[in-house]
């Protein structure tokens, strides 16, 4: 479905994830974060950048992987993105939602 985020037309999945990462901007990320009730800080952006790099490199994302990342520990990950940190941070990062085959 089409939506307007930060003044840009974007395509979103039914659960609100960007369909095409090339449409992502920091402003769009900020808007998506607001919908999740998150006010972005420099620390948030560092994590988002790391997630985008992982996806670009085809590395599987997992909470366990965060522990090995050296970027932040899991406690901080939960503090920055409360609830389902992986689900929420991937949404803000404009990358696909972690999913299974059905």
């Amino acid at each position: 479905m089409e939506a307007v985020l930060a003044g840009n037309k974007v395509n979103l999945t039914e659960d609100g994830y960007l369909v095409d990462f090339s449409q992502w901007t920091k402003e769009i990320g900020t808007e998506l974060a607001k919908e999740e009730g998150i006010e972005m800080t420099d620390r948030h952006w560092e994590v988002i950048k790391w997630i985008q790099e992982q996806v670009k490199a085809d590395n599987a994302l997992s909470v366990r992987g965060i522990k090995k990342s050296g970027v932040l520990d899991i406690k901080e990950f939960y503090a920055l993105f409360p609830g389902g940190p992986l689900k929420i941070s991937t949404k803000i990062a404009g990358v696909p939602k972690p999913k299974s085959c059905i």
Partner: protein, 410 residues
């Protein structure tokens, strides 16, 4: 003579040996396949073994039977790949290759989660992704009188991502038939946002879990298994009690990939999504669960990939450009209990939808819908696996690339 070397004689390696031996001239190419283990397991059978639906004999055979004549079968441990030198070191000799196929699969890594492989491993904490785990679980279930049972998976990617769901459905059916379903509290625990994660499947199948009285806990990122209190604990503070935990641990590529410095964080080999050539070395190709391609880790995916890979290896040897062909096609039966199953057919970009398969408009199999016929299909697949799939015989009417015909795509 030139040397083509295949590492791993599982589903993918065995299929590639069969495909390539008939395509490459015997006076030009030696083909060798290396695997330290003698037994070839029918891994989809590990889902049925715990419920006494299959016996031990139905899920294992001597691997040698499926390696074609004219292929050198080497039963030795592989120590390390030296891709810059085109060499592979085995336990007591070093082989040189002109072309290498990595088909070393993936396996469970319970040691990645604190307490998982602890004192209760295979006592009240089980996997069903190994022959040993599946068999130990069968013996446990035979005497299980009731209590809290969790079916859980740790993180993606895992081999056959629907297997945990199938397991919980079959468990519901198993306890019902035993007349103790009311004494078993069944909970499905997933690290993802829901038991189903794709819109069409969620809409079509979301009712199955509540209908079967299976509780669902989502967004559960496991931190540890507590062997004193019999609980699983997640990083966000969620805790679930169990009497019997059936878990799918983290899945990782073989340690060999790590020893050879060829893998990512989970020991999967970076591989071109559409040609199956390794990103690191042009004369190294990767297939099946060993790759990092974003397709399901499943035998059907390996089967479709093996057809593209065979063509691409022949093109590579001819010095021609490779086909950008592989689309992540998967075709999987999903058991839902009570002798019914679903069928899903999808690829990298197309999510599973409803429809008919393999003949558009006719079927006889139904996509994303429960049917008894689909269940027969799943059971028939064991014969197809041993007699057609491993031998590289194409399955009639099912093409390597996913077809959109017969699918309800909006």
């Amino acid at each position: 003579m030139k040397n083509l070397l295949i590492l791993g004689a599982g589903t993918s390696g065995t299929m590639m040996a069969n495909h390539l031996r008939s395509k490459l001239k015997k006076d030009e190419w030696n083909i060798s396949i290396v695997d330290q283990y003698k037994t070839h397991y029918y891994q989809p059978g590990f889902l049925f073994l715990p419920f006494d639906i299959y016996t031990e004999d139905q899920v294992k055979k001597d691997g040698k039977k499926f390696i074609p004549n004219g292929v050198n079968y080497i039963q030795k441990k592989i120590e390390q790949i030296f891709p810059d030198e085109n060499k592979v070191k085995l336990e007591d000799e070093t082989l040189s290759y002109d072309l290498l196929i990595i088909a070393t699969g993936c396996k469970i890594a319970p040691q990645e989660t604190e307490g998982m492989k602890g004192k209760n491993w295979h006592k009240n904490v089980f996997d069903f992704y190994t022959y040993e785990g599946s068999l130990a679980l069968r013996n446990k279930l035979r005497e299980f009188k009731g209590g809290k049972m969790i079916v859980h998976f740790t993180e993606m990617p895992i081999k056959c991502p629907v297997a945990p769901l199938e397991f919980v459905f079959l468990a519901d059916d198993y306890f019902t038939k035993k007349g103790i379903r009311d004494k078993v509290d069944l909970t499905y625990v997933t690290p993802l946002g829901g038991a189903f994660t794709k819109p069409k499947a969620t809409a079509a199948l979301g009712h199955l879990l509540s209908e079967k009285n299976i509780k669902v806990v989502t967004d559960f990122a496991i931190e540890k298994v507590d062997n004193e209190t019999n609980q699983i604990v997640d990083y966000g503070g969620q805790i679930v009690d169990f009497d019997l935990l059936v878990t799918v641990p983290t899945n990782m590529g073989d340690d060999l990939i790590k020893r050879s410095g060829m893998g990512d964080d989970l020991n999967f080999v970076p591989t071109d999504h559409h040609t199956l050539q390794s990103l690191g070395h042009k004369n190294v190709f990767v297939i099946g669960d060993a790759t990092n391609v974003p397709a399901s880790k499943a035998g059907s995916v390996a089967h479709f990939a093996s057809e593209t890979l065979t063509d691409n290896i022949l093109l590579y040897l001819d010095g021609k450009p490779l086909k950008q062909e592989f689309d992540g096609h998967a075709n999987c039966f999903i058991e839902t209990g009570k002798n019914k199953a679903l069928l899903i057919d999808f690829n990298y970009t197309q999510e599973p939808v409803e429809g008919t398969f393999p003949i558009p408009g006719i079927g006889p199999l139904k996509l994303l819908k429960e049917s008894i016929f689909n269940h027969w299909g799943k059971l028939a697949f064991r014969w197809i696996y041993w007699n057609m799939l491993l031998k590289g015989i194409p399955i009639p009417l099912v093409s390597r690339n996913m077809s959109k015909k017969g699918k309800k795509i909006e």
